[in-house]
Symmetry: C2
Subunit: 220 residues, 2 copies
Amino acid sequence: MNQSKKDLLDTLAGVARALGHGNRLELIERLAQSEAPVEALADTTDLSVANASQHLQQLRRAGLVTARRQGRQVIYGLTDERVVQLVGLLGDIAETNLAEAERLVSRLFSEEDADGALEPVSRETLRAGLERGEVTLLDTRPEDEYRAGHLPGAINAPLDQLDQILDQLPRDREIVAYCRGPYCALSHEVVQRLTELGFRVRRFEEGFPEWKAAGLPVQA
Amino acid sequence: MNQSKKDLLDTLAGVARALGHGNRLELIERLAQSEAPVEALADTTDLSVANASQHLQQLRRAGLVTARRQGRQVIYGLTDERVVQLVGLLGDIAETNLAEAERLVSRLFSEEDADGALEPVSRETLRAGLERGEVTLLDTRPEDEYRAGHLPGAINAPLDQLDQILDQLPRDREIVAYCRGPYCALSHEVVQRLTELGFRVRRFEEGFPEWKAAGLPVQA
DNA sequence: GATATATTCAAGCAATCAATTGAATATTGA
DNA sequence: TCAATATTCAATTGATTGCTTGAATATATC
């Protein structure tokens, strides 16, 4: 076995190992929404700042995230949209191949997605619906993530501000809600609430990062 | 942070960790060619049987490979074509983001791909060329891997048997050689040799596993 | 310059992982 | 049933990883 090749595989293995910790995957998931300084990341992931910093540096060494200094903060971001695809593919494989993962996914959504819920909307369906102007689109993520970028025409509608925008929502058109990705629960909660209120609302089966990674247009 | 979600991410992290060792990536690369019993895998990857067995079990626990007993042997195989895609994507990201990986890839091919070599052929170009019958296709992998599956119409042409099939090769048509994937050196060697002999020969930029994973036809 | 803030570094401990060795298990064929 | 073969298990060793704590560094503001 060729030594160069062994080195190469070891390097790839190092990148894989960088993905091999729940906290780092969580950081990546957060970074897929928008870049952010360490403290904000530590905050949303419930890690100590020091710990978040160390995980971020591992991701950086693996070439998965970049860091740039801005004033006294260090802003981290994903190096590449493909990192989102990579984690997504990892999730797909885990979901179909691991009974345990499947069980976890179903538990994660079991209450929200119970009988009443409609089929989620695929990327292609959503794209077509938007193009024809048939769909009202809701971004259910927190406001700062919305401001960092969202799908064209989406209305920011986090659960706790839902009441204030109810009068903007049509009762005669289909509404689609999205959030951070297939494992994110935010849009589920909004769909559930709006369904109770009698709206025709479905969930986008992916999320903002996947949309962006697919090269589809986003709006700042 | 939701506990179910944390569990889910930890499960995904476990799958990533299973990819986090050079020996296991090598095993996967080998398995992408064809399924095989432990001893054969240990052999081509230069691991002890016990060590290979342990790595394979980790891959199995992660849901990346399957095992089935056949007589006194246990045959391992990839659970899913997407595992090939996953490793490919890992390689792509590593290659573009990590200076070191880039250096390793270029060293791996530096001698073979020196100035004289032509551009490698893309999947789409190859597909089109085959469809129009314009291309003679060589599978440069060892005979057992060829027998386990190859691209339609490919001639098995490992380097050490090249002399015996020279008279089957056209001098007036384009020849394309492929092997195990973008990091595999076998086709490079064959291309170099045939180029020296005056054939018009180029390399397929991917390999058998990627072709198969893309859902294109293969021949047993 | 001095001080405050954001991030990183360094040390230390517990936990996990990789590789080796020799024994144990399961299957086949005599 | 017994021996042979293929694979896995168990125990050990050395190395690596994750997290915490407190100190160190770099930048901005006074």
